[in-house]
């Protein structure tokens, strides 16, 4: 017979299930705890880099770069050059991505073991400022001359006339194209398309000639929206993109936004390979595999992208970010900045931090970082150095990237976007773009985008300093 043990087992089991449920709940949201199993969001306190001693007279400072991997070697090189000139040890603990770096730094700061120097994506500017975990660079280095940094780099660091961070790595969107495909399609491999209209024409030719399935591909990432708005001199939100105060409204349903989305979704619908949302890898693979003949990606990947594409036998060319017209307002700079956490430190340590920051954002190491990665240097002097070395002559593809940088114009639209909700706003942009690719009307989607983003702004409250 089916016995009473079943009932006991059953009740025991149900009890366990409830416990699992409860544990799941609290684990997910408990104070500063990591996201639960499987998520990669909760890698706080990676590495035990919290030494702070001055044991043998050496000062130790901690630095958490946003990523290692391909970039780790360069970070090591930069740090060892710095260390060889000073009696300072830098303990580095690379994180996995901008999101993880933010998450890890905030969690560690909350638990009281933050690194001395954090490396945060530029989109996190306001949220980092508002946490109260950081000390403005302007207070740490009051005599720092910010005019030594180039405009597109320093832009993101100053909010409401206060210098919060220092630009470390800076990027822009570039067009990578397959010269073999261009030749096969009868296009001039030395003149990539510069405007939306040209991208469409080139893509049409490529598809018509049967060279590739699609003309072009790039990931659905909000940076494109940000860049194409700034190129059209369109602000993304009021209060001069938030640099002058807390914004209350976004301009995601503006004519400029409509122009770019209408081209992307409607004009390019059959010529563009859609790789899905937020998927850099899928877009890169599509270009590598010859599905599309052109691909847009960050200049920060210049070094490894070029070698990856060449390994695949692609004769790769680099062009500027194509824009709605030849009138360029300037791109929206990507990349990340270095921040100093707010802690009680010895004078020796504080001095070590100042030295480290100056060196890392200084001419020599910024030039090195540019060469090894493609992230353009923050320091004006680096550019002179590179020119004197003849680096651009030897590396014409880096030169293209640089020409685009030179066309940058100082204006509120190009100096950064200062919304505390920016990481979430970019999610909204990405998801609504996704909806457009599923068939949602561009105008409706843009209006939804704007109203959702505006609702978010309303829920945010900027901290006043």
């Amino acid at each position: 017979m089916v016995s009473d043990t079943y009932r006991r087992e059953f009740l025991k089991g149900a009890g366990a299930a409830t416990a699992v449920a409860l544990a799941g709940c609290s684990g997910e949201s408990g104070a500063g705890g990591g996201a639960d199993g499987g998520g990669d969001g909760g890698t706080e306190t990676t590495g035990g880099a919290t030494a702070g001693g001055t044991a043998s007279g050496t000062t130790t400072i901690t630095f958490w770069p946003a990523w290692g991997g391909y970039y780790e070697e360069t970070f090591n090189e930069m740090i060892s050059r710095f260390e060889s000139d000073h009696d300072i040890t830098v303990e580095m603990s690379p994180q996995g991505s901008y999101t993880e770096a933010q998450q890890a730094t905030f969690s560690a700061a909350k638990a009281g073991n933050a690194p001395d120097i954090a490396h945060l994506g530029k989109n996190s500017t306001i949220i980092a400022r508002d946490t109260g975990y950081f000390e403005p660079i302007g207070d740490i280095m009051p005599d720092l001359d910010t005019s030594q940094y180039i405009g597109p780099a320093i832009g993101w660091s100053e909010v409401e006339d206060k210098l919060w961070s220092l630009p470390f790595n800076n990027s822009q969107i570039l067009l990578y194209y397959n010269k073999n495909h261009f030749r096969d399609a009868g296009l001039d491999p030395e003149s990539p398309p510069q405007t939306f209209q040209e991208v469409k024409e080139y893509s049409q030719t490529i598809v018509d000639e049967g060279v590739a399935e699609k003309g072009i591909t790039w990931p659905n990432v909000a940076w494109w929206t940000m860049s194409w708005l700034s190129e059209q001199r369109q602000l993304l939100c009021d209060k001069k993109n938030g640099v002058a105060g807390e914004p209350t409204e976004t301009y995601l349903a503006s004519d400029a936004a409509e122009a770019m989305f209408d081209w992307w979704i409607n004009d390019m619908s059959d010529l563009y390979h859609y790789p899905g949302k937020d998927d850099w890898g899928a877009s890169e693979t599509a270009f590598k595999e010859g599905v599309a003949s052109m691909h847009m990606n960050s200049s920060g990947g210049l070094a490894y992208l070029l070698s990856g594409f060449r390994d695949k036998g692609i004769d790769v060319g680099v062009g500027r970010l194509p824009t709605p017209s030849t009138d360029h307002g300037g791109h929206s700079t990507g990349g990340a900045a270095v921040w100093v956490t707010d802690k009680d430190r010895s004078d020796a340590k504080q001095a070590a931090i100042r030295k480290f920051l100056q060196r890392m954002t200084g001419p020599e190491l910024q030039a090195l970082y540019f060469k090894n990665t493609g992230y353009f240097p923050s320091h004006k002097e680096s550019i002179t150095q590179l020119e004197e070395e003849g680096f651009f002559g030897d590396n014409p593809l880096y030169d293209t990237a640089f020409d685009q940088l030179q066309q940058w114009e100082q204006a509120p639209a190009t100096q950064g976007i200062f919304m505390g909700t920016l990481p979430r706003t970019t999610d909204i942009i990405i998801n609504q773009t996704d909806r457009m690719w599923q068939g949602k009307d561009v105008n409706t989607a843009l209006n939804d985008m704007k109203s959702k983003a505006d609702d978010l702004l309303e829920s945010y409250e900027r901290v006043s300093y």
Binding site: M1, V2, D4, Y6, R7, E9, F10, G13, A14, A16, A17, T18, V20, A21, L22, A23, G24, C25, S26, G27, E28, S29, G30, A31, G32, G33, A35, D36, G37, G38, G39, G41, T99, Q102, Q103, F106, A109, K110, I127, D130, T131, G132, Y133, P275, G276, K277, D278, D279, A282, T285, D427, N431, D434, R435, W437, Q438, K452, S459, E461, V463
Partner: protein, 296 residues
Amino acid sequence: MDVYQNRLQGAVLLLPTVVVCLAFFYWPAWETIRLSRVRTIGGIQKIPVGWEHFTTLATSGAFQYSVAMSFVFAFIVVAGSMLIALYLSYLINEVSAGQSIYLVAAIFTYALSFAVTANIMDVLFNPTVGLFAEVLTIATGAVGVDFAFDYTTNPLWAWIFATGSTMWKMVGYNVIFMVAALSGIPESINETARLDGVGSLQMIVRVYVPMISPTLAFLAIVNTVNAFFLPFPVVQEISGGPSNTLNIMIYDIWQSYNNSVIGLASAKSLVLFAIIGLLTAFQLLLSDRFAHYGGT
């Protein structure tokens, strides 16, 4: 009669459990409730907002979607995995040779973690690099259908991918319990039914299901609770699917947490907590009425 020699011994033996419960359950739970009533920026700045987060959530269309989709997701994976498991268990119970091989083949997914499951599935079916995705495209191409299992751009495929992966993972657990329960059914009942000429389907529906109903009721509860939490890695693997179509509560909470909106994330997790609590109570009540435990 007394299990312990004296009260002190009992207290000392219980202490570790009490400490663990306090540290890892009651304290975080209390913290969650506290955090749900503040607005947080990063973590240091806390502005008390009372019940504002809950009223925001009550009127938020996005959150309502998220709650509704959590139920839809849970229903699909619980019903799906239990039906598949029931049929597999029946077959395993029937087969005479190589039973243990079939059993292992059916339950090995239980040994995988959900994170690994998510990874394996994405590697196999990824529209860009997936092996099975390619095979599917070739196979459908051979019969003249232009098909791509592209769950990165098509919401329907994203749902099929996520629920399918979750079911694949959950079936193993269900089979373990069901096979055990089926093997507990006396042979005489099998024999009687067979002599009466009862077919396979009839056998499952009319004989086996009622006989193992306590097990099924238990599984229904455990599966439902799990279905609200465990699919997280699968959904996260595909970033919530195209246009966040798979924005189930657990993923939504994680995203809020990731965006450092801790207060709102805490409020959301309390809502999830309440839903799971009510659901479990409801199912216990219901199963008490319908599950057959034998005896009187």
